[in-house]
């Protein structure tokens, strides 16, 4: 039981993520989380504004069900399957983050410096979340997939477009991490 309550190593987690993808493929579907953003816009009536949202959203209910399950899974994992151990980040990461003003890195899943209500309810704090979310939503639909659709499923199916998209993910992620995060958080 201890092994379940402790954080899972990469060589357990990675194969289990492959299993999720393979099960969905076996069910005749595919593993793609960002499609749900398009479906939700469609349900909300976005079809009035663009053909992109004129789709049969009922055919996507299975994927919304996966999302609902994922939320429940997040709840179950934190409430019943965790021993509260901190994330074993590398010492360099912890010290780099300290320079940016992030303290106690790894004690929680997410940094309170970004996600605590105290920070969220400041102008800078809410701008960070809104801009980040907007970039994720816009970018993933422009690229036609996210980490699940391109990095896991697309690469598993040896799709060149997915490799190009994943390179793009890293170009953006590296620019943000090395050049922009220090401007936002550094003093």
């Amino acid at each position: 039981m201890d092994y379940i309550l402790q954080p899972w190593p990469w060589y357990v987690s990675g194969p289990l993520i492959a299993l999720v993808m393979l099960i969905l493929v076996y069910f005749g579907k595919t593993f793609g989380m960002s499609s749900n953003l398009q479906t939700l816009c469609s349900i909300g009536g976005a079809g009035k504004f663009s053909d992109y949202f004129r789709l049969d959203w009922k055919a996507q209910r299975w994927n919304l069900t996966v999302v609902l399950g994922a939320i429940l899974g997040g709840f179950i994992a934190t409430q019943y399957l965790s021993d509260g151990s901190a994330i074993a980040l590398s010492a360099e990461t912890i010290s780099d983050l300290k320079e940016l003003g992030f303290n106690n890195a790894g004690e929680m899943l997410l940094p309170p410096e970004i996600y605590s209500w105290e920070n969220v309810l400041s102008l800078k704090g809410i701008a960070i979340l809104v801009i980040a979310g907007f970039l994720v939503g816009f970018g993933t639909r422009y690229a036609g997939g996210c980490t699940s659709g391109h990095a896991i499923t697309g690469l598993s199916n040896l799709q060149l477009p997915s490799l190009i998209a994943v390179i793009g993910f890293f170009v953006g992620g590296l620019i943000m991490t090395f050049f922009i995060l220090p401007l936002i958080f550094g003093s």
Binding site: I17, A46, T65, G69, I76, S82, G133, F134, P161
Partner: protein, 137 residues
């Protein structure tokens, strides 16, 4: 009942991503700084097994439970959309520390400020839908 299996897959997915710490902003930061193997091990082993089993599915003509051939739709051709869209997504991924799967999962872990990120992601998706025909693909 038809949806129960998808609910169970989703629950399993949510548990795996929390237990792997792949939903953690800190792990994403560490990955982009190349300071640990953890995230590369997760993605690398998932893709390695994915390539192997998708190849096996095709080689042995495994049918899905719907009785159809396993056939993952190829991605559309193009370059600009993958480079530009991918890079924009990367900016957001490294800032929010969460991609679309973890966004939902993190709500389940009790981080309700994530609803703001999700709402903004829907706005970003809506904006893409409006501009789709004007953007290079």
């Amino acid at each position: 009942m038809k949806f129960l299996k998808f609910l169970l897959v989703g629950i399993f997915f949510g548990i795996v991503l929390v237990k792997s710490e792949a939903v953690s902003w800190y792990r994403i930061y560490e990955m982009f700084k190349f300071q640990a193997f953890h995230m590369y091990g997760i993605i690398g082993s998932a893709v390695f097994l994915g390539v192997l089993f998708i190849w096996l599915f095709k080689k042995f003509r495994i049918k899905s439970i719907e009785g159809k051939d396993i056939d993952l739709a190829p991605k559309d051709k193009g370059l600009a959309r993958y480079i530009l869209g991918g890079t924009i997504f990367g900016f957001g991924w490294a800032l929010a520390g969460a991609c679309p799967g973890p966004m939902y999962i993190l709500v389940g872990t009790g981080v309700f400020s994530m609803f703001i990120v999700i709402a903004a992601a829907l706005l970003g998706t809506f904006t893409y839908g409006l501009l789709q025909k004007k953007l290079p693909h």
